[in-house]
Symmetry: C3
Subunit: 209 residues, 3 copies
């Protein structure tokens, strides 16, 4: 088991915990909460693999099922103490997000797509799981509204591309990109930095045609 | 037309009826209700085929479109009497669910994936249509919250796997798996058996970073 | 740049504007609104390409990203005047819809599927973007409930098929199909023509099993 595997499992664990907790708050049953946790953890990579016409990564190894199951046991056992662990989960989540984005970019470049597609796939890998989670629990997708989540994924893609243009080694590039995702995310939450919110009317109806 | 075809059409019919009725309750128009019925009926198999990189089954024969259309005519004609037929629809639904799960498992094993992937694909085939239906009508997915629906699909997969380990014939295995899905579902509804519901707070926000 | 490209960009622009405006009304941040606009514009074609096992069209050229970005700038700059432009957007949307439907049909026939699949793919290409938009902003899909949107796509498919049966040239067929989508849509909105709405109870629970 490499350091990458460990980060991957930590990220999966944190994403699954987030899905399980939000599903619990909506009175999902045990199995429903497990499914929402699993989809939160693997949803982004699955959509990426589907768009790239690859076999979804989680179908090749049961570890993601198992890590999600451990996350469920964890929530059941420590439900009273979870709120105190919010900072820990947030850190796992930020670290996992950095890794997921880099994996998404690497996979896409490897299949032969140009960089702008890879940056989008990094974004999809990091953020679609949380969007699917919010759709399943029937809430407005949080990450489009708060704390620079999606943009942190894009930031990682831009740093990846900059390192590539500067001909830096692929190991350095990956670490730099992952760390910039994490730092963007952590700084945004710490200092409550958000993007401007659009204010609009939803009156789209044509008149007097 | 084999007995399998008949069960397949009954299941499709029951799934489509369920989508059409719930869409009607939300004031969807005729065509919208038809689309929701169709997606309820074919959604699970479509996601399965997409994950397995197969051509979606309903694109190979128009029968699913036609059965859904008959379901729409049926709802229009007998709308007053539908509630009295709830038990009949429920039985069709349970029988169809058993078949859908077995078809999902068979297809996946045939493509060459291991058993644990096949069990997940059985679950996806049986349950994703209902989840998509609930997303389209903007409700919390019912099956994650009530009456052991998703778990009945998994139960079928476990029985399938047990029969396989015991080297039973494939015909017997398929029937045993389908019947265990149906019975699990029927017993859960008859005796109001549900999984424990998680109770959780949705306060995930990190503090004092 | 051909006339087809121009219509394609106009349609993409109108679809993106619609996504960005509805996301703004829900307090999405700038980036979230951009993403919703992009998904509204490319969602239908992406699901079509995925079902047909083709590389999603927008991954082959960055123009859809760029047109969506221009749409975002447009909404930001002219937010006060947007309501006055509703008729213009509606026309762009109807013209784009006609083109999207025809592109969906052509692509599907080209891959070798029969006509009834192509008509469904025309419907998917034209309407799924708006459905995904409404799911993301957590609203009931508008197009299943108002003003003959989905059925206009099917109408285009039927006209396409009729022209094909009459052995008309492919250029004429495409234009006739696109125009019938537009006219159906425009007439439905102008004269407030809608499909009948189903009225149903959502009481599906079986009793006295």
């Amino acid at each position: 088991m490499t350091i990458i595997d460990i980060i991957d499992y930590l990220g999966t664990f944190a994403f699954a915990i987030s899905g399980i907790r939000l599903a619990s708050a909506k009175q999902f049953d045990l199995f429903g909460a497990y499914v929402v946790g699993f989809i939160t953890a693997i949803g982004g990579g699955t959509i990426r693999d589907s768009l790239l016409d690859q076999t979804p990564f989680w179908m090749q190894h049961p570890s993601y099922l198992i890590v999600t199951f451990i996350a469920l046991l964890f929530v059941l056992t420590f439900s009273k103490y979870l709120v105190r662990l919010n900072n820990t989960f947030f850190l796992f989540d930020a670290i996992g997000l950095g890794l997921f984005v880099v994996v998404g970019i690497d996979t896409t470049l490897h299949v032969g797509f140009p960089f702008w597609v890879a940056i989008i796939m990094g974004l999809i890998t990091g953020s679609v799981g949380g969007v699917l989670r919010d759709i399943l629990i029937n809430e407005l997708p949080l990450l489009f509204r708060k704390d620079i989540y999606a943009l942190a994924c894009v930031m990682g893609g831009v740093v990846y591309y900059a390192c590539h243009l500067l001909d830096l080694s692929s190991g350095f590039t990956q670490i730099a990109a992952a760390i910039s995702v994490m730092l963007t995310r952590i700084l945004a939450v710490k200092f409550h930095i958000g993007l401007p919110v659009l204010k609009g009317s939803d009156d789209e109806s044509p008149s007097n045609l």
